[in-house]
Symmetry: C2
Amino acid sequence: MHPIRKGIFVVLVAILGCGPLQQSDPLPSWNDGPIKSSIMEFVATVTREGSEHYVPTAERIAVFDNDGTLWSEQPAYFQLLFALDRVRALAPEHPEWKERQPFKAALEGDLEAVAESGVKGILELVMATHAGDTSEEFQHVVREWLTNARHPRFKRPYTDLVFAPMQELLTYLRANGFTTYIVSGGGTDFLRTFSDEVYGVPPEQVIGSSIRTAFEMRDGVPVIVRLPQLEFINDKEGKPLAIQKHIGRRPVAAFGNSDGDLQMLQWTAAGEGERLMVLVHHTDRDREWAYDRQSHIGHLDKALDEATLKGWTIVDMKEDWNRVYSFAE
Amino acid sequence: MHPIRKGIFVVLVAILGCGPLQQSDPLPSWNDGPIKSSIMEFVATVTREGSEHYVPTAERIAVFDNDGTLWSEQPAYFQLLFALDRVRALAPEHPEWKERQPFKAALEGDLEAVAESGVKGILELVMATHAGDTSEEFQHVVREWLTNARHPRFKRPYTDLVFAPMQELLTYLRANGFTTYIVSGGGTDFLRTFSDEVYGVPPEQVIGSSIRTAFEMRDGVPVIVRLPQLEFINDKEGKPLAIQKHIGRRPVAAFGNSDGDLQMLQWTAAGEGERLMVLVHHTDRDREWAYDRQSHIGHLDKALDEATLKGWTIVDMKEDWNRVYSFAE
């Protein structure tokens, strides 16, 4: 082609976005089948201009639980494993922890007993080990842990245990004009240390649990200090309330994996027009884990019944994903 | 010009963004002088690629107080005037209000006594009159009021009393890659009913005070119900804490007008690199109002001293703005 004509062609392709790359599969880790189709048909429907189910870009809000939905959560929530490492590191300064649950169980490495203390006990542990620092200091501690700690089963950094199919899904939704939020029971500041790099979700789109903070002047310099008091648990009913408070728009798509996500999915489903409600069902003990109704962590019981009853999309990890982690090609 | 050449020229202008409109003044309601220059120089500095003070788009966070900064706040916060109208409308259902402050003062139309009850009293009044509804119902009530109510001095809808120079500034900053947040002592859900239309600020970029909410099932349909309990007052120390919680990035530019904004400005100023801290000083009793150290509403005392001491940008409304409202050309 004549160079000038070729230049114009390149400009036109860039403007019209009609290059051959558009034809490739945006979700290669998902097996072809009804689940993948239902997700892609939903996206096609709400983004087709002129369609009666068209949703303007500003309202394309997709919310994602994190633990068990975007990355693994076994043998325990990864933030809890971080907290246990912190308990051990900080124990010399806290002799009272030896007699007090769930700290006692944490120091004894009794993961089962820690898990039995429930979301509240776990968050108490997490928050108590996360306080005292400024926001900056805390993020530094978390980053160091994410770099150095290794998952007990896979012997890899925890951030390697994000689900490749879900990373593809986040990218695919954003490419279609969605804003993707993380709405997690995990701590906001913990999540923010890796959410941008790992998921492409910037700090302002992370909604999590929180401890109280205080604004203080230290030698004339303002700092935000983390206090050892729970402020908000972003679980169950808390999730739709936090979504309304933070975003102020009802999501059109919601992704979860446990009963803690049920109210978020109900809130999403009750909006007008097309909606997508997805549960990730952990069915793959070889490549990941298999658990649902009997599990302390990622307990999935009522939400599984309601999803079945209402025809929500249930991802069978073993059947629907041809790979789970990026490192396990 | 030959039609095809002209077409190519139009495309090139569109691509390169070098049309003659780029040369026009983005802040026509601001008089030329050191204040306008300091704002425009700041924007030029942080957006110039390769500059040592360059700030990437994702980190261009600008935060704006609302009452007294983006719109007027006299003779009382407009949300308070809304609340007073609601107190009168709801009074028959609340006989106890006749004996209890600040409700008593509200029913008697004693604005001075209401103002003396302080931010907390005012928010109590606001919140109590805003509860019981679902989020949707409440927004409907506010929208109706904004359509029908008239400001006592200007006999116009309250949303006509936004500052034209500040609207220009919001647009100018967004055109330069900034994300503009409202960080206000006003209620989040109140602000969201008009923030997008009036300021171009979408609901997810509104951070305000809040009352508690609850997630309930009503005939199988989930609703979010507003409870008559204060949850968070977004004023003074609360502002930087809310910014950190909601955005998770430190602003590079902050705009306020009262002591309630001081900590937000301090937090912004303490970041590294170039920062812009702006106070709007109400000096124009003819076109708007003149008040500062002695005023209950928009009390500006310590922040004025600190701004002077530290060389922050102080907008003299009378000197620096050639128009205040759009309707007063």
